[in-house]
C-alpha cells in the first residue's frame, strides 16, 4: 500500500478528536469530519424514510420483526462494548434486560391493570398506586440497571478471565431467581401482563440510533482506545497510566444502561414478560450474535443482530411439516437451534473472527470501496 511521505507530519489531523483513528487523514480532519457528519445525517434521513415506508406498507409481522431486530441490535452493540471492545468475557446481559423490562413495565402499567395481574400477592405500595409515561420510565430503568451494574462491578472486576465469566453468569441467574420469587414486586412466575404496546419502529430504531451515537463515539475516543488496550494487555495498559478498573466500570455501566432501556422497549413490544424470558438462553443468543458478527466490531454486532432476527424467522419453515420429494416430513421443534448451531460452527471454522473480524464501518472505507474517496481502504 503506498503511503504518503507527509503522513508522519499529519499531526494536526492526528490531534483533533475524532481524527485520531482515521488512518492517514490527508484532507484536513475538520473537513473529513464535516463530510462524515453530513453523510451520517443523510443516512439517518434515508433510514427514517425507509422506516416510514415500512410502517405504511409492510405487514404488521414484518414491522414487529424489524422492531425486534433493532432492539437486539441495541443489546448486541452494548454487550459487544464490554465483551468485544474491552475484552471482558461476561455473561450477565439477561439480568440487565430483565431489570430494565420489569422496572419499565412496573412504572407504566396502570394501577388497575396491576391490581388485576397481581392475584397471589398484591404489588407493594407505592408501585401499586401510580404509573408514568414510557420515556421517563425507560430513563429510570436504564439508570437503575446502570446502578446495578456499577455495584456489581466492584466484586466482578476483582477477577479476570474464566472467573469473570462464572461470577457474572451467577449474577444473571440470581436476578432470574429473584424475579421468580419476589412475588409482591414481579408477580413471580406469572409475570406481568397487559403491558401497553407502545414500542414501534420509531422507538426501537430511535434507541438504536442513540445507542450507536454514544457507543461509536466512545469507541473512537481516547477512552475507547484505552478499552482496547485493556483487552490487548491489561498490565501493559496499567503501566501506560490507564486505570483498568474504572475503564471497565465505565464500559460495563454504559452497556448496562442501554441493555436496561432495550429491555424496557422489549417489554412494551411483546406486552407480556415473565422470568422464563430472561434465562441464560438470552445471553447465549447475544453471544452468538456478537461472535458471528465479529467480536469487537460494532458494525458486526448490528449485522449479527439482524441476521439472527430475520434468519431465525426465516428458519421457522424447517420446523413446520413439509413435503420433500413426495415424503411427508413432520415438523421437528428445535430444528432451528440445530441449524443455528451448525451455522455458528461453520462461521467459526471458516471465519475465525466472525463476519467482520474487528473491522468497523466507516464512511472513508465505503467511499474508498466505491472509488470515490481519496483515502485508502481502512
Amino acid at each position: 500500500m503506498p503511503r504518503n511521505p507527509h503522513e508522519k507530519f499529519g499531526l494536526t489531523a492526528l490531534l483533533k478528536p475524532g481524527g485520531l483513528l482515521s488512518p492517514g487523514a490527508l484532507p484536513p480532519a475538520h473537513q473529513t469530519r464535516r463530510r462524515d457528519t453530513m453523510l451520517t445525517i443523510g443516512a439517518c434521513l434515508l433510514a427514517a424514510l425507509g422506516l416510514w415506508l415500512l410502517e405504511g406498507h409492510a405487514s404488521g409481522y414484518v414491522v414487529h420483526l424489524t422492531c425486534v431486530g433493532a432492539i437486539f441490535a441495541t443489546l448486541a452493540v452494548s454487550y459487544n462494548l464490554i465483551n468485544g471492545v474491552t475484552g471482558q468475557f461476561s455473561l450477565e446481559p439477561n439480568a440487565f434486560v430483565a431489570c430494565g423490562a420489569y422496572v419499565t413495565a412496573l412504572l407504566t402499567l396502570s394501577p388497575a391493570e396491576k391490581e388485576a395481574s397481581f392475584i397471589l400477592e398484591p404489588l407493594i405500595w407505592p408501585l401499586s398506586a401510580f404509573s408514568i409515561p414510557l420515556l421517563p420510565a425507560l430513563v429510570i430503568a436504564g439508570l437503575l440497571t446502570a446502578l446495578m451494574a456499577f455495584l456489581m462491578g466492584f466484586p466482578v472486576f476483582r477477577v479476570r478471565g474464566d472467573y469473570l465469566a462464572i461470577v457474572t453468569l451467577g449474577f444473571g441467574e440470581v436476578i432470574r431467581v429473584v424475579a421468580n420469587n419476589a412475588q409482591s414486586v414481579t408477580n413471580g412466575p406469572l409475570g406481568l401482563k397487559g403491558i401497553p404496546h407502545i414500542t414501534n419502529l420509531w422507538w426501537s430504531w430511535g434507541l438504536l440510533a442513540v445507542c450507536l451515537f454514544f457507543i461509536v463515539r466512545l469507541v473512537h475516543s481516547s477512552y475507547g482506545r484505552a478499552l482496547m488496550a485493556i483487552r490487548e494487555d491489561e498490565t501493559a495498559a496499567e503501566a501506560m497510566g490507564i486505570n483498568a478498573f474504572w475503564h471497565k466500570m465505565l464500559a460495563f455501566t454504559l452497556s448496562a444502561f442501554f441493555e436496561g432501556v432495550a429491555g424496557g422497549l422489549l417489554a412494551h413490544l411483546i406486552t407480556t414478560i415473565s422470568p422464563s424470558l430472561f434465562t441464560f438462553f438470552l445471553t447465549f443468543n447475544l453471544l452468538i450474535i456478537i461472535v458471528v458478527g465479529g467480536l469487537g466490531s460494532t458494525t458486526g454486532a448490528v449485522l449479527g443482530a439482524f441476521l439472527f432476527t430475520y434468519g431465525g424467522e426465516w428458519l421457522r419453515v424447517v420446523e413446520e411439516p413439509m413435503q420433500l420429494m413426495g415424503l411427508d416430513i413432520p415438523g421437528i421443534p428445535g430444528m432451528r437451534m440445530v441449524i443455528f448451531s451448525l451455522i455458528l460452527v461453520g462461521v467459526m471454522i471458516f471465519l475465525r473472527r466472525g463476519i467482520l473480524g474487528r473491522h468497523d464501518f466507516s464512511w472513508r472505507w465505503l467511499l474508498a470501496s466505491l472509488g470515490l474517496g481519496r483515502g485508502s481502504k481502512a
Binding site: P17, P23, S222, M240, I242
Partner: protein
C-alpha cells in the same frame, strides 16, 4: 531520584526479592545485571507499582511510593518499558504511541513528542497505520521504546530491551538509549547483555537470587573478576 530500601517481594511462598537496596540519581544511567530468575523484572515491577511489595520503602522524587498503583506512577514520569515489549498487537502503531501518552492532554507538547518519536524511529513512521502485530521483533522494541517516550518519562526503566535482537539491532537499541539519556531522561536498565550495558552505565548493580551482591561504577564492575566470569563469559 529513586531510592529503594530493604525491599522484599514475595509471590505466595516464594521470596523473589530480599532486602534490596538501590539508588538512581538524576541524570544517571544505572544498569542492573543478573542471571535468569534473579529478580530483575520483579524489582522493576515493584518500583513501577505493578507488583505490591511485602516490605521496604521506595522513594521516587522525594515521595514514598511503595504500593502506589502503576497507573498513578506513570503519570508522574516513572515509566516502565516492560520485558517482552507487550505492545498492543491489534492496534495500529500510531494508536500504540498515542496510548503511551494516555494521561497527557493532547496539546503542543504532545504533538512535539509524537513528532520527535516518529523522527527518531522512521520505520515506525512508515508503518504508522499498520497493526503493531505485523512489526518485526526489532521494530516492536522500537515501538515499545517510543510508546514509553510518549509518557514523557523522567525516569525510564527498560527491561531487557535487547532481548532476542540481532547484534546490529542491539547496537541500534543502545544508541537509542544513549539518545534518550542525552535528552535528560534518567535510565534504569536491566540487561542480559552485560558487556554492552556496563559500557553505557554510570553505575551498576548485580542481583543474585533476590539480593544485591555487588555495586559500583560500570567500569569497576566490568573489571571485576566475578562479574567477568559470571556475566561477561570470560575466564
Amino acid at each position: 531520584m529513586l531510592t529503594v530500601r530493604d525491599l522484599t517481594v514475595s509471590y505466595g511462598g516464594i521470596t523473589a526479592l530480599r532486602g534490596v537496596e538501590l539508588e538512581v540519581r538524576r541524570g544517571e544511567i544505572v544498569t542492573l545485571v543478573g542471571a535468569n530468575g534473579a529478580g530483575k523484572s520483579t524489582l522493576l515491577g515493584a518500583i513501577s507499582g505493578l507488583i505490591k511489595p511485602a516490605a521496604g520503602s521506595i522513594t521516587y522524587r522525594g515521595q514514598e511510593v511503595a504500593g502506589t498503583k502503576a497507573h498513578r506512577l506513570s503519570r508522574r514520569g516513572l515509566i516502565l518499558v516492560p520485558e517482552g515489549r507487550r505492545i498492543f498487537v491489534n492496534l495500529s502503531v500510531k494508536e500504540n504511541l498515542i496510548l503511551g501518552g494516555y494521561f497527557r492532554p493532547h496539546d503542543a507538547g504532545f504533538s512535539q513528542d509524537l513528532e520527535r518519536v516518529l523522527d527518531t524511529f522512521p520505520r515506525l513512521a512508515e508503518r504508522a497505520d499498520q497493526p503493531a502485530g505485523t512489526l518485526s521483533g526489532g521494530e516492536r522494541q522500537m515501538l515499545a521504546l517510543g510508546r514509553g517516550l510518549m509518557g514523557s518519562p523522567k525516569l525510564m526503566m527498560l527491561d531487557e530491551p535487547s532481548l532476542g535482537l540481532a547484534p546490529l539491532m542491539v547496537a541500534e537499541v543502545f544508541g537509542v538509549i544513549r539518545r534518550i539519556h542525552e535528552q535528560g531522561v534518567t535510565v534504569l536498565l536491566v540487561e542480559q547483555n552485560a558487556a554492552a550495558a556496563l559500557k553505557v552505565a554510570d553505575r551498576a548493580y548485580v542481583l543474585e537470587t533476590g539480593k544485591v551482591v555487588l555495586s559500583g561504577t560500570g567500569k569497576e564492575l566490568a573489571a571485576d573478576g566475578r562479574v567477568q566470569r559470571a556475566y561477561l563469559g570470560m575466564d
